[in-house]
Symmetry: C2
Subunit: 208 residues, 2 copies
């Protein structure tokens, strides 16, 4: 696990101060390396949106923002609907098999939130791959990566997880039945629902 991943994990787990600048020396002693690899990591994370500039120098962890989350899920629904539409006719049994594999892993107990987020993306990606649109897929991957920043806490009702997995199941059934309209519709609603749930949670915790 490289420094970038470690910092991401610590951001998600709220183990780094939000709002105030991250100091390179602090991080270098924290992770037991010199400032250079820390600088490398901070630069990459800044370019990826995990960190934002703080004044004229330094970076900080951006605040969680329901408006940002809303936009991310809006774009996800919009673009994933598009790529799924493009992929649909070309989804082969092997793709479905792969997707089912990820679904089974998601069903297991004791999977961490971060891991859960990755598996969820792997599931969706397995379906989109057939579209053969690398650049579109890459942008969508970026959006899903951004969403991970919001996965650090348990939000929404506890049974949402099962609801989400159920929707995944139904989605695969629609694909197998060649029911494109239902599948695309469900996919978009599935994403929108997750977004609404997250946004509502963020709004309510912001009000406090």
């Amino acid at each position: 696990m490289n420094i970038c991943q470690k910092i991401k994990t610590d951001i998600i787990k709220n183990q780094l101060p939000r709002g105030k600048p991250l100091r390179q020396v602090t991080l270098s002693s924290r992770y037991g390396v010199s400032r250079i690899p820390i600088r490398d990591a901070l630069l990459s994370l800044k370019a990826e949106g995990w960190l934002v500039p703080h004044g004229k120098a330094g970076v900080m962890i951006p605040a969680l923002d329901w408006k940002e989350a809303e936009d991310l899920y809006l774009m996800r629904s919009y673009l994933e609907g598009l790529i799924f539409n493009m992929a649909f006719e070309h989804i082969c049994p092997e793709d479905l098999l792969k997707a089912r594999g990820f679904l089974m892993e998601l069903d297991k107990e004791g999977v961490g939130l971060l891991e859960r987020g990755k598996l969820n993306w792997s599931f969706h990606k397995a379906l989109y791959q057939a579209a053969n649109r690398p650049t579109l897929l890459q942008v969508i991957a970026g959006l899903n990566e951004q969403v991970v920043r919001y996965m650090g806490f348990q939000y929404g009702p506890l049974d949402y997880r099962h609801r989400s997995e159920y929707q995944h199941e139904i989605l695969l059934n629609h694909i197998e039945n060649k029911d494109k309209i239902s599948a695309e519709c469900l996919l978009k609603l599935h994403i929108e629902e997750a977004g609404v749930l997250l946004v509502d949670y963020l709004k309510s915790s912001e009000a406090r």
Copy 2:
């Protein structure tokens, strides 16, 4: 002008070798600095998509790819249509004034291609700002930044520039007339047309 910008400019102007790895020492002597700031720049550029990994270590300039361009313009049309729709009711006279300002600068002769690309984005951005959707706007800005990588050469018929500026004019008129449907429709076609022109050019130059 920092190192990042210099490298971007050199990439656009085809003054750096494509396809083979960029060597840090080569670049550091080229730009007259040590390897550290070069490393910083390469990391940022890699995260932004200006460079891609080369094997297990090192980076290289990705080949221009009509399929990538096609996806970029598809997403632009899709997402800019969306944000424009959101912005429309809130576009104020000051926004239009700003847009007209950029349009006038675009009309001047002797403006470099890179500068032209930036002005074009400034024009569009002036209209989208009213949507008050920072995250959506940021993603769209990223797409426009990616498009800049393809602006290093004169493509399409020479009179496309005037055609594009004309479309900009009409777009502003539609907005002033509160004709939302025409405006949104024109905007999407305007972007799509630019995309098709670029993609066709790339395809034809690839065939050679």
